[in-house]
């Protein structure tokens, strides 16, 4: 591996690699990336048919299944492949950021009450089901139209849709989603889930680009924001499993260096079916967050007497495959871009960027771990040039969950966070211990590298005030 320039490392083509691999990391981050199988996984991806330019790893890369987390790879539409392993089991795991007109002082004395209300309204935790029961017809509509369905049902507004990637609706086809996946999804619409998913009240800590921040709805330090991080729940997990199995049965596994890299040609029937099922699962994820957004607004109204101007700043997908135009050898080309634990970071002018922000670039939301800072960035032309318009997605774990459980107790984590001024509501003490901030990478360093490289520029830093965990 050689260093090409500051924060850019390259593994030249060797063996079965069709393209070189590039890793965007500082020395500190590279030490951590080297400690697991991420680099091997980035090289394996470089050997997949139809891959373009580079197999990439973002600054928060760590070991995943097949593809590394933080992995980005773009494939030719005719010769290339689409892989469930390049998307991940939690299809359309994504992050939404809401702004408010409130300041820290307006909410600080009522944070506990707010968390209590939120925990009643937003089902969270393992095995917690939805408050609503969808019929099969309704679920199919969710899968076809995503957040649009939720808005039609009275959850949030059309204005929200404009600030979601893909307008909150991809080309989902319910007929490509198995009955089993639908059965898993039906009781889970509008639930947060567990694990690393959260709903967090935050305050703006620092503003780096005041003019851009203002356009994104952020005006001053202390302003209250709300961040929602969750995915497509059991429905998405089942879509991934179903298509992994279908692709194995159709194409076999003997040609794969890692079974989790199973894939299908994009142009094949199975490849197309997966894309449409994945899009349907993504729609489920969009609808999910749209409903949660609505309940958050209701809770703010109940507790503070107002939810005025609680607008969606943006929602980014960070486990997804999309068809996008990118420049290859000086020519515009349609590609299938996989982002697995990576965020799209398009610069100004791209038609995918909502009209409100098109002259600025796409908002990029990078959540930290529980109790640490999160960031709002803006996408760049540089990202389009060097990373297929992508940057990091979060912090990434550094220690195992079992190590976490051996080292800390949930109650202790809650107490420590409280001392830092962060109120926590967790459904499981074990969950709180597992997700304690010391077991994650430093999100500040991840974002610093993204900013230094220019693949996502820092707009504002936010810190938590109150967290609802599954």
């Amino acid at each position: 591996m050689k260093m090409i320039s500051e924060n850019v490392w390259e593994i030249p083509r060797e063996g079965k690699m069709r393209v070189p691999a590039r890793i965007f990391a500082s020395d500190i981050l590279m030490e951590k990336i080297k400690a697991d199988k991420s680099l091997l996984q980035v090289k394996n991806v470089a050997a997949l048919p139809g891959i373009q330019k580079f197999s990439l790893a973002m600054p928060d890369a760590h070991q995943g299944y097949g593809f590394s987390i933080g992995g980005v790879a773009a494939f030719d539409m005719d010769e290339g492949i689409i892989s469930p392993g390049g998307v991940g089991y939690d299809i359309n795991c994504s992050v939404r950021l809401l702004r408010t007109d409130m300041m820290e002082d307006d909410i600080s004395s009522k944070r506990k009450q707010l968390l209590e209300e939120l925990s009643k309204e937003v089902p969270a935790g393992v095995g917690r089901s939805s408050k609503m029961r969808l019929s099969r017809e309704e679920l199919d509509e969710v899968l076809s139209t995503g957040a649009k369905w939720a808005v039609k049902k009275g959850y949030g507004t059309v204005k929200d849709l404009k600030h979601i990637e893909e307008g909150g609706s991809m080309q989902g086809r319910p007929d490509k989603v198995s009955d089993l996946a639908k059965k898993r999804g039906m009781p889970q619409i509008g639930t947060l889930g567990a694990g690393n998913h959260f709903l967090e009240m935050q305050k703006v800590d620092k503003i780096f680009m005041p003019e851009v921040a203002e356009r994104f709805g952020i005006t001053k330090p202390g302003q209250v924001m709300v961040m929602i991080h969750c995915g497509s729940r059991g429905l998405g997990h089942q879509v991934a499993s179903d298509y992994i199995r279908a692709m194995e049965n159709k194409f076999g596994i003997s040609h794969l260096p890692d079974r989790e890299l199973i894939n299908a040609p994009i142009s094949s029937e199975l490849g197309q079916d997966y894309y449409h099922a994945m899009s349907a699962a993504a729609n489920f994820g969009f609808a999910n967050k749209q409903m949660i957004t609505h309940w958050v607004r209701q809770c703010f109204d109940k507790v503070f007497g107002s939810n005025e101007n609680m607008d969606t700043v943006y929602e980014v997908c960070h486990n997804i495959a999309k068809m996008e135009q990118h420049m290859i050898d000086g020519e515009k080309k349609k590609l299938c871009v996989h982002r697995k634990g990576a965020t799209r970071s398009f610069g100004p002018g791209k038609e995918e960027v909502p009209e409100d922000y098109r002259d600025l670039g796409q908002p990029v939301i990078i959540p930290g771990s529980m109790g640490t800072a999160s960031y709002l960035l803006v996408g760049t032309k540089k990202a389009e040039e060097i990373s297929f318009g992508s940057t990091a997605h979060g912090a990434g774990r550094v220690a195992s969950r079992s190590e976490a459980l051996r080292t800390v107790r949930g109650e202790q984590v809650k107490k420590e966070l409280k001392q830092k001024g962060i109120e926590v509501w967790g459904h499981s003490s074990k969950g709180l211990a597992e997700e304690a901030p010391q077991f994650y990478k430093d999100v500040d360093e991840v974002v610093r590298v993204s900013d230094a490289l220019g693949i996502g520029k820092m707009v504002a830093r936010v810190v938590p005030l109150a967290v609802l965990k599954g």
């Binding site: 299944y65 393992v126 059965k183 567990a194 989790e260």
Partner: protein, 133 residues
């Protein structure tokens, strides 16, 4: 020892053991359940599970996945495995358990993976599985 958990950065890894493949598969299901919930589960409902796989690993994957599906769709938690037969690439089992409504779950298993999956046998059988959480 029926099973053992290992350190794995972003997920959960376990090995399950048995004197036969059937026993190792049984213990793998119990390990998965142990991750989801540490409490003892009552054996009050019975279910029959039938799965197929193109090979041994897919069979193991499909078998374990059944418990995630049963939990999400029917709220079923595993207590005991009364019977388990593997015939080539087919598995049939009779299991008992209880409704999840009566318990507080602590582990969220998203999916079974093939990552580092191993099925070995010399003196006894060992299966190794990583769960995405």
């Amino acid at each position: 020892m029926k099973f053992k958990f290992f350190d794995h950065t972003a997920d959960i890894k376990f090995q399950a053991y048995g004197s036969s493949k059937e026993e190792a598969f049984k213990n793998a299901a119990l390990a998965l359940t142990e991750f989801i919930i540490e409490e003892d589960i009552k054996a009050v409902q019975e279910k029959t599970i039938e799965v197929e796989g193109m090979d041994e690993k897919q069979l193991l994957y499909s078998w374990l996945e059944q418990f995630l599906i049963l939990l999400d769709t029917e709220g079923f938690l595993l207590s005991t495995i009364e019977e388990l037969k593997i015939d080539g690439n087919k598995l049939k089992a009779k299991v008992k358990g209880d409704s999840a409504e009566n318990y507080k779950l602590t582990g969220d298993a998203k999916a079974i993976t093939y990552h580092d999956m191993e099925i070995t046998h010399d003196d006894g059988w060992m299966v190794q599985v990583v769960i995405d959480i």
